[in-house]
């Protein structure tokens, strides 16, 4: 019994510490938001009156349905983009597979709001494409008009979620699944409908519900496109213009959280008990066939068209950052470095802040992620699953909601030495970023830990190493790759986070890059430097993504060596 206590004491204390952190910075703020939503603003009594008010106000009704419509339509458009791409790569011997893989990564290295303004200049009413269309054919297409713009920008950005999940599902279908159906008499459309489609469905639904969640919660894109009649912008505007006591922001937050949970639940249901990875060693994937020449031309045409669409925010942003004046013309009038010079002069604080905040947040995430992974998978602590559950729960909390929660919860908590409310101290931004990105880092660390065979640890213990020495000498070194990957993922996504940050930045000098881009983009004159700052963000995220990709690849090699050890035993 004594021994048992000795072994469990360290992890127990650690778990308690993490638990306190998560409760204070995740559970309490969110609970506060929910509580306020159900509280009468005057008397403080519990009531549904705020929700009644919400649904009786036409602006909120409109916002609610707009958000639903935009999220639904984005899922549809993203599916139209992703499904052919996934099908081409898995069904045909198609040389464009590399192109398609690139397509899957490129959008993710830039947050959607950064490219939104550039998209206006390319696809807007007087944008390049419509100017050409009206010159040549005498008509224009309202790509970016009103909600269309949000839908276009969001689906171009988020379709990779569907592409990646659906491709994985299709790749996991064993050829024998199709062959056995053919053997029993099925072919063509029936074979697809009865076997391929149902087997790929869970992957598709998982991807689609993720797209729905992301679009439904997104704040930056509608704000940048000046679309205010949606839920997330309304929540932000109510809090920032009317004030922290206005209940509508809280009601909207509750609705956002409810829909997030709903999407996650759908995705969970889709994947639950359906580990359809049927592929056997060596024989994986659907039957592939060669393309006829005209089919190949068609495939390439589709892929290149989609590639152009996907790259357009980046291209537009680059043009904007180098262009002198770009208005009512297909391309900018001239090119200059002035915006970059301007940016370096005025925006160096943004860049510095971003590197500091994202770096600190990623560090916290990796430390927490490793600790939680170890506690959950290697100890027998009571309630350890709840720790994991709590940390992963951050996925369901939109940035706006976390931001509002922090404002409300920590506004009265004065930090002693700096003598400021915690809600307006820069450290709170770091904490918000860390909480929001913790699930990504935790997932990476968990995957890393699961690759380390318990037997490797047992061998160390057998040779006299204590638990903590084993962790330090065996587990952590073997997990380095995964931890680094987790760090970079957290860093890259935190560097361009806007929705929580925008609520928490209290002084210009504390603002990070994403906030800076948003600020610049507010005025026509700021667009050039804003775009230059956007390109800088893309570079930071792009380099970080590349590094993490390399690290993961190297890690896989290492891990497969580790797995081999486990297998031979």
């Amino acid at each position: 019994m004594d021994r048992f206590k000795k072994i469990q004491w360290g992890p127990g204390a650690l778990a308690l510490l993490i638990c306190v952190f998560l409760v204070v910075f995740l559970i309490v703020p969110v609970a506060k938001v929910v509580f306020v939503a159900f509280q009468d603003p005057n008397t403080g009594a519990l009531t549904l009156v705020n929700f009644v008010d919400f649904f009786n106000t036409s602006l909120f009704q409109e916002s609610f349905f707009n958000s639903l419509y935009v999220a639904g339509a984005s899922v549809l458009l993203a599916s139209i983009i992703a499904i052919p791409l996934a099908y081409f790569t898995t069904r045909f011997n198609f040389g464009g597979a590399v192109l398609i893989q690139t397509l899957g990564i490129v959008p993710l290295i830039m947050p959607p709001f950064v490219g939104a303004v550039a998209m206006l200049l390319l696809f807007g009413e007087n944008g390049s494409v419509n100017l050409l269309l009206s010159d040549w054919f005498g008509f224009t297409i309202p790509f970016m008009q009103g909600l269309n713009g949000v839908i276009l920008v969001e689906s171009i950005h988020y379709f990779p979620f569907i592409l990646i999940n659906l491709s994985a599902a299709l790749l996991n279908i064993d050829r024998a699944m199709e062959e056995s159906a053919q053997n029993l008499g099925a072919s063509g459309a029936r074979l697809f409908r009865r076997i391929v489609f149902p087997l790929a469905m869970p992957g598709y639904v998982a991807g689609a519900s993720l797209v729905f969640l992301k679009v439904f919660d997104d704040l930056g894109t509608p704000l940048l496109l000046n679309i205010n009649n949606m839920l997330a912008p309304q929540a932000y505007l109510r809090i920032s213009s009317i004030g922290i006591s206005d209940p509508m922001g809280y009601v909207i937050s509750v609705i956002l959280v409810a829909f997030s949970l709903f999407s996650l639940w759908v995705s969970f249901l889709a994947l639950k008990g359906k580990d359809y990875a049927t592929a056997q060693k060596g024989g994986g994937g659907l039957m592939k066939r060669d393309l006829r020449t005209w089919e190949k031309v068609g495939c390439y045409a589709v892929v290149i068209l989609i590639l152009l669409m996907v790259l357009s925010p980046h291209v537009g942003l680059a043009l904007l950052s180098f262009g002198t004046v770009w208005s009512y013309s297909v391309l900018p009038d001239g090119y200059t470095w002035a915006h970059y010079a301007n940016m370096l002069r005025t925006a160096d604080t943004y860049i510095y802040n971003t590197l500091l905040y994202a770096g600190l947040a990623a560090l916290i995430d990796v430390v927490l992620g490793t600790a939680i992974a170890y506690i959950v998978w290697r100890t027998k602590l009571v309630g350890r699953k709840w720790l994991d559950f709590m940390a992963m729960g951050a996925v369901a909390i939109p940035g706006v909601v976390l931001g509002i929660g922090y404002l409300r919860t920590f506004v009265e908590f004065n930090v002693p030495i700096v003598d400021k409310p915690l809600a307006s101290w820069w450290v709170i931004i770091v904490v918000a970023l860390a909480i929001r990105r913790l699930p990504y880092a935790l997932r990476a660390c968990t995957a890393g830990l699961q690759q380390v065979s318990v037997m490797l640890e047992e061998a160390a213990e057998n040779l006299g190493a204590t638990k903590s020495r084993t962790v330090r000498r065996i587990v952590v070194p073997l997990m380095t790759g995964a931890m680094l990957a987790g760090f970079v993922t957290s860093f890259a996504t935190a560097a361009v986070e806007l929705s929580a940050t925008i609520m928490l930045v209290s002084a210009q000098s504390d603002a990070p890059l994403a906030y800076g881009i948003w600020e610049f983009m507010q005025s026509a004159a700021g667009r050039g430097p804003g775009a230059a700052l956007g390109i800088t963000a893309v570079l930071i995220v792009g380099i970080a993504t590349y590094i993490s990709h390399r690290v993961i690849q190297r890690g896989e090699k290492q891990r497969s060596a580790g797995a081999m050890v486990a297998e031979t035993i």
Partner: protein
Amino acid sequence: MTESTTEASTEAGELHRVNHGHRAAGVSIRGVSLSFGTTEVLRDINLEIEPGEFFTFLGPSGSGKSTLLRAIAGFGPTPTGAIFIGDDEVTGVPPWRRDVGMVFQSYALWPHMTVRKNVAFGLEERKLPAREIDRRVDAVLDLVGLRELADRRPTQLSGGQQQRVALARTVVIEPRVLLLDEPLSNLDANLRVQMRRDILELQRKLRLTTIFVTHDQEEANTTSDRIAVLNDGIIQQVGSPMNLYDRPANRFVANFLGTANLIDGRVENEAGQFVFRTEDGTRIPLSGANLEIGAGAAMFRPQDLQVAAGDGGALAGKVEHREFLGNVIRYSVTVGSHNILVDDSHHAGGRIFSAGDHVVMDLDAGRIQVLPD
């Protein structure tokens, strides 16, 4: 399954009645060759498989046995030559119109369907009336003893149960030919023995022409009416299991089926008496009258020899090492430059030789076969 299959023999009859008698067809493979790029995987295969026969393709991995089976089912590139099922040529016919049932090595059960839906699939594709489908599915599930598990998903079943579902799903359509692609390789040893008996029983009951692919000689020997031994895409020999073991056509077959002693040398005629002479001068008398003179290999099995203590004689040597195999002790004896394996049957208190002991071996000339080079 043995218990349930004995009980279920009436269901087998039932399955037959609803299928209007059996439709077992023979398979005829004529001059079939196939290449993947420049690699020839099948070379001029000719085989006649009789209706109702349990026929096995036996060979090491890469021998082309699975490719040949898949070609019969219509999977993979179309080979040259012709394949007939019954009287119909099926070369180039897509898999879904061939009416041959295949059980996949991985079982390939669809995880999104229950056992019942999996088994009903082929009948649904054949557009049978729902009541007929229900009846036949129930009958076949009784036959394999899985009626109670009909509403489970494949992932909720054990390996052996999955195997039986795969088998039921295939035989329920009463295929003209049943193809089994290493169906036992994913089962553990005990279950494997049980399942092969069950498969054989089912095959006899339904009188299905069955082609079985395996690399395991014991599996092939215990189930098959006839075996075709394949190596490098070429059929080495076709025959009954005993025939292949007793009269192998070449070194490959001799080695692949059981353990063989193979000694290089020449058949010579010494004054009307045929002898086999090796390079180091060992001389082994042969029986038989019409042996061909020339180079070859003398083949005999370890149990064809008698071993005794002693020195001198045609087959005298020194024990190199011994292996205790339970029923026999296998000695490796050095004779000249050859190593000869000899099995001595073992019983408690029996005599045992040790490494270094000098022994003489007695070999009945009638047991020796000379294989051509």
